[in-house]
């Protein structure tokens, strides 16, 4: 059994989501290799070689892969896939973008967002916004899988010593071009890997009021998230969205502020260890999943909370 994990990286460093995908790969058994496809991505490949349990890192360093455009990377992954039984990637925006293309090139189905590995061909995954967990069995000789990162504990980032092998295959489909990226720069932890997340919803009333969450986030070293309603209303950018079709988080502590708790939002956070809800509507559905519910006006509760921690 051989598994290839497509790394999540930014050329300079390996992203934590890769470590969750490697953990899932480890459960499949056999050799685990990592593909780092990028441009000037030697540092990310070196970091991948440090991951324990990894046999080999394939470093495909080519201008065509610089921004990991799905059209190009999928051709590379499908070609390399000939030698593997499984191809895995974390369910990040990149993984979701690239992997179905790889599966179609290989003429196999994809199993999205696995929560567990039951056996070499059987997995569980959420459907209907996580209201149902399906057990699915793949009949394909090769499995293409994306991994829900919150469902697998990350392997350590260091301690291994895999070989790094350069791959010169250059695939440029020539149909897509990177133009630009607007990436929010923040000192806070990443939303999907933070141990504490504090999210605001429509109840925050406007974007400026999110500053009420910042002071608390600073004290708890928390990431800040939001419900779809808050993103749609323009309070905060899209990368804040937690939910079925946004980011999936499972921190030790999730604080939902002014969020009513639509099923689509719950799908993104209900696996958090401890959930706190602050909402002035005592019938809000968020209280049904909260360990600690506080029925209060958030504009009074938040300053008090910031002072008390």
């Amino acid at each position: 059994m051989k598994t290839l994990v497509i790394a999540e990286h930014d050329n300079a460093s390996l992203k934590a989501a890769t470590l969750n995908a490697v953990a899932a790969a480890g459960e499949l058994g056999g050799d685990v290799d990592i593909l780092v496809a990028g441009a000037g991505c030697g540092a990310a490949a070196d970091a991948a070689a440090q991951v324990p349990g990894v046999a080999k890192v394939i470093c495909a360093d080519n201008a065509a892969y610089e921004h990991q455009l799905a059209e190009n990377v999928s051709l590379l992954a499908a070609e390399l896939g000939a030698d593997y039984d499984n191809l895995l990637a974390p369910s990040t925006a990149n993984g979701k973008n690239i992997m179905p293309r790889v599966a179609a090139l290989l003429d196999v189905g994809q199993i999205s967002d696995i929560l567990s590995v039951e056996s070499a061909d059987t997995f569980t995954r959420p459907i209907y916004a996580g209201n149902v967990i399906a057990t699915v069995q793949s009949a394909d000789p090769k499995k293409v899988i994306t991994v829900r990162t919150t469902a697998f504990d990350a392997v350590p980032a260091e301690g291994g010593s895999a070989t790094v092998e350069a791959c010169s295959a250059a695939h440029d489909a020539g149909v897509s071009q990177f133009i630009r990226e607007e990436v929010a720069v923040s000192d806070r932890p990443e939303l999907t890997s933070a141990s504490v997340v504090i999210s605001g919803g429509r109840g925050m009333q406007n974007g400026d009021n999110f500053s009420l969450l910042e002071g608390i986030a600073d004290k708890l070293n928390a990431a800040i998230g939001a419900s779809r309603a808050a993103v749609d209303a323009g309070f905060v950018p899209n990368d804040y969205q937690v939910g079925q079709t946004g980011k999936i988080v499972a921190p030790d502590l999730y604080i939902a502020v002014g969020i009513s708790g639509a099923i689509q939002h719950l799908a993104g956070m209900k696996d958090s260890k401890v959930i706190v809800a602050i909402n002035k509507d005592e019938d809000a559905p968020i209280f049904q999943v909260a360990d600690y519910g506080l029925v209060a006006d958030l504009f009074e509760a938040l300053p008090e909370l910031e002072a008390a921690i």
Partner: protein, 249 residues
């Protein structure tokens, strides 16, 4: 310029779907069905491009049982010009749907294919990308802005860190994210008019596609239940619980 819009019939987004007690499948008896919300956004985008004079014809396609003609009619009421229904029994998987859509693409030669990024039943998020691989087209997935240029389309994509803009050679595939637009409601006159718009039915055989299953659902189960929580009186009690009971701060 011709736009092909794919729509899917799914359980209405307000329905909380449950697993059947025997664990064989989800319980979809008597639940309200609707057009997948992301597909609705796809239709709206095509209609806006037509209103702007960029798109001249909108073809709405759906793959599924005969009941999905309802969702094609919804797309026609929202402004699509004609419908194509690819009749398939049961629940075809994303790869099979992508292959059938490729058959329709070969027949229709659209300049633009617009579809939802995922359907809210299977939550797979695969079909658009698979269609991209099968047709060799570029893909602008998770789109929040679409600008048509000369032989190209610029797509702003919602990615984990923020927004990424790519330029794709036409024909290209766009999969919609939530912020692309706010779909309109179909007016009563348009719903009436939609009933008279042409709707063609095709079979997989006519598209030379063998519908195969790659992944079988072995069973379903409800997700782990969260134990009931408590309501705290005030902020100080909350902080006390978090520190001393949950020990998370």
């Amino acid at each position: 310029m011709k736009a092909l819009v794919a729509v899917k019939r799914v359980v209405d987004y307000n329905v909380k779907v449950r697993a059947k007690a025997d664990g064989t499948d989800v319980d979809l008896n008597n639940v309200k069905m609707a057009i997948n919300p992301f597909c609705e956004i796809a239709v709206e985008e095509a209609v806006r491009l037509k209103e702007a004079g960029t798109v001249t014809e909108i073809v709405a396609v759906s793959v599924g049982e005969s009941s999905c003609q309802e969702q094609i009619r919804t797309a026609l009421a929202l402004g699509a010009d004609r419908g194509v229904h690819v009749e398939v029994e049961g629940r075809p998987e994303p790869l099979a749907i992508a292959k059938l859509l490729k058959g329709v693409v070969d027949q229709e030669s659209p300049d633009l294919v617009i579809m939802g990024k995922q359907s809210i039943d299977g939550d797979n998020n695969q079909t658009g990308q698979m269609l991209g691989a099968l047709t060799g087209m570029g893909q602008g997935t998770f789109a929040s802005e679409v600008k048509i240029g000369e032989g190209t389309v610029e797509v702003v994509r919602e990615v984990d860190g923020g927004l990424q803009t790519v330029s794709l050679t036409l024909p290209a595939i766009i999969t919609t994210d939530l912020r692309l637009n706010e779909p309109r409601y179909a007016s009563l006159p348009n719903i009436m008019k939609a009933k008279k718009k042409p709707l063609e039915t095709l079979t997989p055989e006519q598209l030379s596609v063998a519908v195969q299953s790659h992944v079988t659902q072995v069973g379903v189960a409800p997700p782990p239940e969260r134990a009931a929580g408590i309501k705290v009186e005030d902020v100080s009690q909350l902080v006390d619980k978090l520190k001393n009971e949950a020990k998370v701060i």
